[in-house]
């Protein structure tokens, strides 16, 4: 059990590192800026403070790999919220990575 969760954590860490690396290489220095611009679509519902109100979960401070995985599962319609499905559908991989890097960098307010 412990090994498994450690393995999972390690895998997330590795993929997060790879992601950050690939984002830095592919999107050059502008990626976080792109992520910040694209994030303006998200923050109409998701609070940038990280606070949860009603049925809208917090997305700030989420590790980039998890963010990418969740967005891709909406894109593939494995998760069934209509709003999130159409929003995820229009982002390409680079944009999802940019968003992931941006949201990971935002610290929730306590």
């Amino acid at each position: 059990m412990q090994r498994l969760s450690f393995g999972f954590a390690l895998a997330s860490l590795v993929s997060a590192t790879l992601l950050a690396f690939s984002a830095a290489v592919a999107g050059v220095s502008g990626d976080r800026e792109l992520g910040q611009y694209l994030s303006s679509e998200c923050v109409t519902c998701h609070l940038l403070s990280g606070k949860v109100v009603g049925g809208v979960p917090a997305i700030v401070g989420v590790d980039a790999a998890s963010f990418v995985a969740v967005m891709n599962s909406y894109k593939k319609k494995e998760r069934d919220n209509q709003v999130m499905q159409v929003i995820a559908a229009k982002f390409n991989d680079e944009e999802i990575a940019a968003l992931a890097v941006y949201f990971e960098s935002v610290k929730p307010k306590r």
């Binding site: 502008g30 800026e33 303006s40 940038l48 403070s49 009603g54 049925g55 809208v56």
Partner: protein, 423 residues
């Protein structure tokens, strides 16, 4: 003049995507943006321009009201799901984020001099102006109704005293008293709004045992937003309380008489209604029309890539006043458009990166406790207009837990957009 670095980093993209000439910003002076109207379009634009330019742009928001009261969720106030204080918001956080909030009424834009003229005669010079005044009501669109009649037959389609008046009038409807809503013709603010309002009125009647009352909706349109969903909900929750009449059934709205609360249609005369709610035809806020930014239909054409006015490259029109193609006139739309415009304006004035326009909208409607539906989609510039890309809508017959979840989402969105507008 833009320096070499700005041109290389962002200016080039801005000019290429917007087809503009080099910005003529005086060296040393901060570029100035004046935003007219502190609603979902204007407050968002002001906040984003100030925040993202990090002090490089002087942003002034001109708003005549001391507080903002949301039109969105005002139906929930009507139905008793929210108290009034919860839909009122202060502009107090915006100055801390670099926005100069000026409480004043803007009367006209002197486009030649690039100045916004206030009702006290003061003039605010601008490099770019954002116009987001919302809608104005067409008081002459329902025969017999007028501005003088808006207390007798409230519209409550602009928020404030009218919202509270409608609630008081609804609460005073006796059991057996009829409510008549005159629905607006297209295009109008908040397409599902009248029908969510009908639902909330029916909820209030049902909750208080006024089941001998009835709501008649006299609609000039053949069909309306989320029609199947609303009609399913009315049948399910409010059987016998709501009757919707399209133009083929009522044969036209002939006149109203505010003195006797009478509504005359081609087919029927309704006398002594307990409450008549007139939602009239609408057009862009006066300042947009008076500044010659609107077309013959009374709304403002824009470039879909940026929300820039087609009448004046120094002006951007947002929200209900704009002709935004497939996007409905909603707070969500205005907020989405504001971010596109803010990004474009910042690019023009400071040479920052300009990203392609992307627009989103969702409109939630509460039908009955924990029974909420939604409609929405994504949009992008295409063939000269803002076109729908991936629309979605709730389905009839959805399970109760999904509808409850949709209401939780609705409440979450409200908190989100308020934080996004005011910080």
């Amino acid at each position: 003049m833009a320096n070499r670095r700005q041109f290389l980093v962002g200016g080039g993209a801005a000019f290429a995507s917007l087809g503009l000439v080099a910005p003529a910003i005086a060296q040393g002076a901060k570029p100035r943006v004046v935003v007219i109207g502190g609603g979902a379009g204007g407050a968002t634009a002001a906040r984003y321009i100030a925040k993202d330019s990090e002090g490089k742009i002087a942003v002034t928001l001109v708003e005549e009201n001391a507080n903002y009261q949301t039109c969105f969720h005002s139906n929930l106030f009507l139905g008793g799901f929210r108290d009034y204080a919860s839909i009122q918001h202060s502009y107090g956080n915006l100055p801390k984020q670099g926005v100069n909030v000026m409480r004043a009424r803007a009367t006209v834009i002197d486009r030649d001099k690039k100045e916004v003229v206030l009702s006290n005669g003061q003039r605010l010079p601008y490099d770019r102006c954002v116009v987001s005044p919302g809608i104005d009501l067409r008081y002459d669109s329902v025969p017999g109704w007028s501005k003088a009649a808006e207390d007798a037959m409230p519209h409550a389609w602009k928020p404030g005293a009218q919202t509270r008046l409608l609630r008081r009038r609804l609460d005073a409807v006796p059991n057996g008293g009829n409510i008549i809503m005159i629905a607006p013709p297209n295009p109008f603010r908040c397409p599902p709004g009248p029908y969510e309002r009908v639902s909330m009125m029916a909820h209030a009647l049902k909750r208080t045992g006024r089941t001998r009352s009835k709501i008649f909706v006299i609609d000039p349109k053949e069909s309306f937003s989320k029609q199947g969903l609303f009609q399913e909900g009315w049948e399910k929750h409010y059987a016998g309380l709501v009757e919707w009449l399209g133009p083929k059934i009522h044969d036209g709205i002939k006149s109203v008489d505010p003195k006797t609360n009478t509504v005359v249609t081609g087919f029927e005369t309704y006398r002594n209604a307990a409450l008549v709610n007139v939602i009239p035809a609408q057009w862009a806020g006066a300042i947009a029309r008076d500044s010659k930014l609107a077309n013959d239909a009374g709304y403002c054409p824009i470039k879909p890539e940026s929300m820039q006015s087609t009448m004046d490259p120094n002006i951007y029109v947002l929200g209900d006043s704009a002709i935004a193609g497939d996007m409905p006139k909603s707070a969500f739309s205005a907020n989405s458009q504001a971010k596109v415009a803010a990004n474009a304006i910042r690019g023009e004035l400071t040479g920052s990166r300009v990203f392609p326009a992307r627009y989103t909208n969702t409109c939630w409607s509460l039908i009955e406790t924990d029974d909420t539906v939604k409609v929405g989609g994504t949009f992008e510039p295409k063939d000269g207009k803002i076109a729908s890309v991936t629309p979605f809508i709730s389905k009839t017959g959805e399970p109760a837990d999904l509808r409850k979840q949709t209401q939780a989402e609705n409440m979450g969105w409200y908190a989100g957009i308020i934080a996004d507008m005011f910080g």
